[in-house]
Symmetry: C2
Subunit: 256 residues, 2 copies
Amino acid sequence: MSRIIAIANQKGGVGKTTTAVNLAASLAVAEQRTLLIDLDPQANATSAYGIDKGALKAHVYQCLVDGVPLTEALVPTELPFLTLAPTTTDLAGAEVELVPVVAREQRLAQLLAPVRDRFDFIVIDCPPSLGLLTLNALTVADSVIIPLQCEFYAMEGMGHLMSTIELVRTHLNPRLAIDGIVLTMFDRRNKLSLQVESETTAFFGRQVFETRIPRNVRLSESPSFGKPAVLYDVTAPGTKAYLELASELLARLSPK
Amino acid sequence: MSRIIAIANQKGGVGKTTTAVNLAASLAVAEQRTLLIDLDPQANATSAYGIDKGALKAHVYQCLVDGVPLTEALVPTELPFLTLAPTTTDLAGAEVELVPVVAREQRLAQLLAPVRDRFDFIVIDCPPSLGLLTLNALTVADSVIIPLQCEFYAMEGMGHLMSTIELVRTHLNPRLAIDGIVLTMFDRRNKLSLQVESETTAFFGRQVFETRIPRNVRLSESPSFGKPAVLYDVTAPGTKAYLELASELLARLSPK
Ligand SMILES: Nc1ncnc2c1ncn2[C@@H]1O[C@H](COP(=O)(O)OP(=O)(O)OP(=O)(O)O)[C@@H](O)[C@H]1O
Ligand SMILES: Nc1ncnc2c1ncn2[C@@H]1O[C@H](COP(=O)(O)OP(=O)(O)OP(=O)(O)O)[C@@H](O)[C@H]1O
Ligand SMILES: [Mg+2]
Ligand SMILES: [Mg+2]
């Protein structure tokens, strides 16, 4: 039975895509059958795997809005245990086009039902908003992982994100859990980073992953080569951190 | 006659709010009568000026959706020449609620008409999307300033942003100009920064501001004190860069 995890945070630039791309790759390295869904119209997760968006047979927008089966859109990656559901900028239209649709928050759930048992993990990269695309992800997800950049504005947004998760639990998906909060772009020498770390662990306790993702330029270089960090520079601190995050997640999920 | 400038880029975390907040403050320091509009439901520009969102008489959502006059929402700041139109997270509802409204892209233009002559500059902070809020800003704006983070994903998004600006020019606002692209979080020692700088200047030429905004921790600390950088640390490299950006903008706009 697969676990569906949404990588969500309405604050922009906090490391959602970097986390989705590299966590999915790390789970695949651990031989977990993994599907990465690019649910962000920026289609950054699709570029991160070097996919040519012009040559796609089908993509997520067509599945969500036109009813094309998700199986038509799935593409393999260089990692044997990782499959991708790619996106193009067309997806930007879905936020408006889905507004009048019946059960508009359930579209992604309907798409995933026929394929979910093929995978151990389904990881969803969300856009920087709490609109219909993110709501679709939170509605179908078993859990959410929240990347939190160690900055003031990112901390400030946590209240709004948590109340949205509560709303989803009440009206759309009562079993939505929080797998954890992962501190990203963490720099131990920076006062603000340490302040965010201490406030977040004080407030959220064990919900904060032990793993810290350090600021590491290799993480921001790898997408320009169309590779996840583990295929670009396996020795980089950022790569190791995401491998560590994947094992921490697996340990948290395995029955005690 | 005031100039309305939208600070826009759908890529998250590229420095839109930091640019809107500190450019507006720098224009006010240059004694230009300036209005800063927070059009992002995250309400980061509102927090950057230490405004208590719970104590507001009125805010931008009520103006856009309920028709409250914008004058009701305007609040002073510590800078004599700077006024703020504050926001709360309620604004997140507008992206969906405005969908069925007649002339939905013109709501902000209608709001600004009665107040625009009181200001020399109106600066609009946009959310990380190309939805109805950003379209409202691009429809009323004379020009747009595009903050560009020196990273791969940010570069990748420029095509989508430019084609959206073209669409707005064709259907909604034929006089929309681009005042310029400003490179943010620029780090001369970082290969990727230099690569983005050379590709951007090669492609966009004079549209790129000479001013580079360096990565500077004082810029990310100042919002936690509810002050723009010029009131938090006037000697910081980030503060100086935004003062420089304001003078470069004024020089570009003044008749030769
Ligand atoms: N740990 C890190 N070290 C260095 N750079 C990073 C790190 N994590 C992310 N980045 C870079 O920071 C930028 C923002 O990260 P990313 O795009 O993953 O965030 P996001 O939350 O997905 O953004 P958006 O809100 O636009 O979807 C990217 O250019 C990315 O390469
Ligand atoms: N030049 C800089 N040096 C250091 N930190 C910066 C700089 N510019 C912005 N930041 C920090 O980087 C983060 C992202 O910047 P900011 O929030 O202004 O981007 P944004 O484009 O408005 O994000 P969003 O897409 O969420 O609206 C913030 O925490 C901010 O404090
Ligand atoms: Mg992203
Ligand atoms: Mg912002």
